[in-house]
């Protein structure tokens, strides 16, 4: 997943509502003065945490910049709720969801003038997956046959031994057929493979990249609607329209400036005064009392994001895990409506399933009554849980990280809600880890002595992305070590199913199965509060909660 935007802002102390890893530096159109240079739009950006290489961007800051610089085989159409449509690809076909033949449109060019060919994809994927290159998203290629030949792991984790040299520099599942056709063989059927292909990591790379990756880091060359001009750390990233862009969604503005701010409140001040044209994260200070709606009027945009928040039970810790009745009792003791109202000003909305609405295949209500607040039923369930021989811990800890993301308020509210519901019979306490690093390290090492907050932001808008990585046995983000054979089988069936509609239905059935064990309690999904300046029109927000930089236009005045 991409690290969610929320996760990188310190909330709480009004003083330091400073963007953490994200934001710094000021920026104005280089024209200076008040108004932006006539043909440029200024959009809120944040400092990428990694070099601008598609396979190294796993967070929104780098991700949104790269999305404007690159176009993949498919793209997520903001006009059709993020449904994937072919972009560089003219056809992606498979009979068995295992062997995929991908045909490319001819005439697509990189920003350096070279043509986008099949080998640009194959070389890029091989390079990105290779473990010596240490790309953050290297494991995205794990479905491709021969991945283990290019990706080796340290045999003793963090220990003194080093990972062995990979056997090969190419995956045998990737085959170039001709300049505009290549074939991908997966190690097992993956019906959503074409949907995944719109993710930044699957972007093509120009030949010049392989000659000199260092130069590329300084000046990325993509094939997207915008090309890179220059950047100043913590201040701005400037891009301009790529005139030879071949895709359906060419840019309408000539210049795109990502302005980076140290803190959201200053960005908001600039938005109100028209020096910033778009921001997708109105700060809490402006959300309270709906101040932003009075400030911005018609220029305020409300929407939703594909971000899902939950509380996870560690299955490896039997004292906490208990039985299904126990976990359902906790879930039914959480007053989601009041919490989202009072703490988030309705900026987050209660959810009754494990998939954020708005993604392909999402179906509300998978969780049924177990995700609604019902103190009576909760007490009843607790009694049943005890009857079946489970002794609840004297104190149930709900862990969160205190340094960023503003999780203190809601975890405390959840803890209070549970404690009050059970009249002290179960005492839930929100317990912080000082930093996100320590929090994640404890989760990854499976050492949680309580339940803990979890969140998920979709990488691509499909129900599969909310299930496979999180709840399948041994999946990369299944950090509670949840395992359910029936669920695994259902997910496998869905992966294999060639017909998209049938496959979605199978995923929905799998989602509904989660209600039986309730290993993760769904809480809410994120709303979107964005705003734009009077200088721009035709402002659309992508399913990822970001500005659609290709359709936005400047007001001529």
């Amino acid at each position: 997943m991409r690290v969610s935007r929320g996760a990188r802002y310190l909330a709480g102390a009004a003083v330091l509502m400073t963007a953490v890893a994200a934001c710094g530096g000021g920026g104005g159109a280089s024209g200076g003065g008040g108004k932006a240079a006539a043909d440029a739009i200024n959009v809120l950006g944040c400092e990428p945490e990694n070099p601008l290489i598609p396979a190294d961007a796993n967070e929104v800051c780098g991700g949104k910049v790269l999305d404007s610089l690159f176009t993949g085989l498919v793209e997520y159409d903001p006009d059709r709720n993020g449904e994937p449509v072919n972009a560089v690809a003219s056809a992606i076909e498979s009979k068995d969801s295992k062997v995929w033949t991908i045909k490319l449109n001819q005439g697509w060019k990189f920003h350096d003038g070279t043509e986008v060919k099949a080998k640009n994809f194959v070389d890029a994927w091989n390079w990105s997956a290779h473990s010596k290159n240490g790309m953050q998203n290297g494991s995205w290629f794990a479905d491709i046959e021969g991945f283990s030949d290019v990706f080796t792991e340290d045999p003793d984790g963090d220990g003194p031994q080093k990972a062995p040299e990979p056997k090969s520099s190419t995956m045998k599942g990737l085959k170039v057929i001709d300049d505009y056709t290549f074939e991908v063989t997966l190690s097992h059927p993956v019906s959503v493979f074409p949907v995944k292909l719109g993710y930044t990591t699957f972007s093509p790379l120009p030949d010049s990249f392989f000659k000199d990756p260092e130069a590329f880091k300084k000046k990325p060359i993509g094939n997207g609607p915008f090309k890179f001009v220059d950047r100043k750390n913590q201040q701005y990233i400037h891009e301009e329209k790529f005139a030879e862009y071949k895709g359906a969604r060419a840019a309408k503005v000539n210049k795109l400036n990502w302005k980076i701010y140290q803190n959201e409140d200053s960005a908001y001040a600039d938005l109100v005064s028209g020096k910033l044209d778009f921001m997708e994260s109105i700060p809490p200070s402006a959300l309270s009392g709906d101040k932003w709606k009075t400030d911005l009027g018609e220029r305020a945009i409300s929407g939703q994001q594909m971000v899902f928040q939950s509380v996870t039970f560690p299955m490896y810790n039997k004292k906490i895990w208990g039985n299904a009745e126990w976990r359902k009792a906790i879930s039914m003791a959480i007053d989601r409506d009041t919490i989202t109202d009072k703490i988030f000003n309705k900026g987050r909305l209660p959810i009754k399933g494990w998939v954020a609405p708005g993604v392909t295949g999402a179906k509300d209500g998978a969780c049924g009554e177990f995700c609604t607040y019902n103190p009576e039923k909760a007490k009843q369930l607790l009694a049943e849980a005890k009857q079946k021989g489970f002794t609840p811990p004297a104190e149930l800890k709900l862990f969160y990280n205190a340094d960023r993301g503003g999780h203190k308020e809601w975890t405390e509210a959840v803890a209070n809600s549970v404690t009050q519901t059970f009249g002290g019979e179960v005492k839930m306490v929100a317990t912080p880890y000082p930093t996100f690093d320590e929090f994640r390290a404890a989760i990854n090492d499976h050492k949680m002595e309580g339940i803990y907050r979890t969140g998920w932001q979709a990488d691509y808008p499909h129900i599969e992305n909310f299930l496979n990585p999180l709840y399948k046995t041994g999946a990369s983000s299944n950090d509670g070590l949840y395992s359910n054979k029936k669920l695994d089988a259902k997910l496998k069936d869905a992966d294999k199913e060639v017909d998209p509609a049938k496959s979605q239905a199978l995923y929905q059935e799998a989602e509904a199965m989660l209600a039986e064990d309730m290993n993760a309690i769904p809480l809410w999904y994120y709303g979107l509060q964005a705003g734009h300046s009077p200088n721009v029109k035709n402002v659309k927000v992508t399913p990822f909660g970001e500005l659609d930089v290709t359709s936005v236009e400047l007001n001529k005045s």
């Binding site: 997943m1 996760a7 310190l10 003083v15 330091l16 400073t18 953490v20 890893a21 710094g24 530096g25 000021g26 104005g28 200076g32 008040g34 990428p48 945490e49 990694n50 070099p51 796993n58 967070e59 473990s131 010596k132 290159n133 240490g134 790309m135 953050q136 290297g138 494991s139 990706f151 792991e153 340290d154 984790g157 963090d158 003194p160 990972a163 100043k232 750390n233 913590q234 201040q235 701005y236 140290q262 803190n263 409140d265 200053s266 001040a269 005064s273 020096k275 000082p434 930093t435 996100f436 690093d437 320590e438 994640r440 390290a441 990854n444 979890t454 969140g455 990585p469 990369s476 950090d479």
Partner: protein, 308 residues
């Protein structure tokens, strides 16, 4: 004086070595794995962690880590931060901004602070004295962020006199308001220190002698009185130079200035020690040089002070 200065400068070397070691040790040994939090809610790709660990020699024992770091440093190589941006580049971008802001703030402190102190110290109990005393009390009791957001809101958003945030080119004119915000507390202290010191020295023997000699008032105040009375203010301002640079986190944040304070803060929060170590080292240098300068200034201001 020359030998004294040289001795003080030589003392810098062990101090620098000690501080870099301590800072290096502390920031790299913050609890938690520096890379555990860099991949959101999923564990990082092991290949990524391995690459980064190797890049920063984190598998070596601490002393060797530090030795390798120091060796690179001596060759002028500051390394790259976690984002792959050379630290030297960050330093070159960030330091001028901070110095510019500090210069503006320091000028405001000197002009307004010392000016107000002298005027009120000469004429205690008057209208101006009361005004300065009350307004400085007001400034001292307000936290910096209140003043910052207040000025940004009123001057920037409501009246539209200034840009709410400073543009990346950092023109001097846009730095006046942030400079004032940063200096506000120190202005108040400087004014009060100078006032007290002037008031006290007004009664000193040498001032009475100077007046009795029939010197013009301007000379009595400007040369005899002021020189001696500046020592407390200079001591204070000297130590504040460092604080202006490191302590501008809040002001830099509000006015969106890409400065040293923010960079260090970000580095610590994201566990990225690469920029923190050299930045803090330079800050330590600034502190040491500023105190040296203050000590030397004493001798200039007060002829009774001599260094051998």
């Amino acid at each position: 004086m020359g030998r004294y200065t040289l001795r003080r400068l030589l003392q810098l070397i062990p101090v620098i070595l000690g501080t870099t070691f301590l800072i290096h040790f502390l920031v790299w040994n913050l609890p938690g794995d520096p890379f555990a939090g860099r991949c959101g809610e999923r564990p990082c790709n092991p290949a990524y962690i391995e690459r980064m660990t190797e890049l920063y020699n984190l598998n070596d024992p601490l002393i060797i880590q530090y030795g390798k770091y120091l060796l690179n440093l001596l060759q002028g190589n500051f390394g790259e931060d976690f984002r792959g941006v050379p630290v030297a580049e960050t330093m070159a971008e960030v330091w001028p901004n901070t110095v510019k802001l500090a210069v503006v703030a320091l000028s405001i402190e000197i002009i307004i602070g010392i000016g107000a102190g002298v005027l009120t110290g000469l004429k205690r109990g008057g209208f101006l004295d009361n005004l300065v005393m009350i307004s400085t009390l007001f400034l001292m009791s307000l936290p910096v962020f209140v003043i910052g957001y207040l000025l940004q809101l009123t001057l920037g958003l409501q009246l539209g006199i200034i840009r709410p945030t400073v543009s990346p080119e950092m023109p001097w004119s846009e730095l006046i308001v942030p400079g004032f915000v940063l200096a506000s507390l120190q202005v108040a202290f400087t004014a009060r220190l100078t006032r007290a010191s002037i008031a006290e020295n007004m009664r000193a023997d040498y001032v009475r002698t100077a007046v009795a000699k029939g010197l013009p008032r301007r000379r009595v105040v400007g040369v005899h009185l002021l020189r001696n009375s500046l020592i407390p203010a200079v001591t204070f301002l000297g130590t504040e130079v460092g604080a202006l640079m490191a302590g501008a986190i809040v002001t830099e944040g509000i006015f969106n200035i890409n400065g040293v304070g923010q960079t260090i803060y970000r580095g610590i929060i994201t566990h990225d020690a690469t920029a923190v170590v050299p930045m803090v080292t330079v800050l330590v240098l600034v502190y040491l040089l500023a105190t040296l300068l203050v000590d030397l200034l004493y001798a200039v201001l007060d002829p009774r002070i001599r260094y051998e």
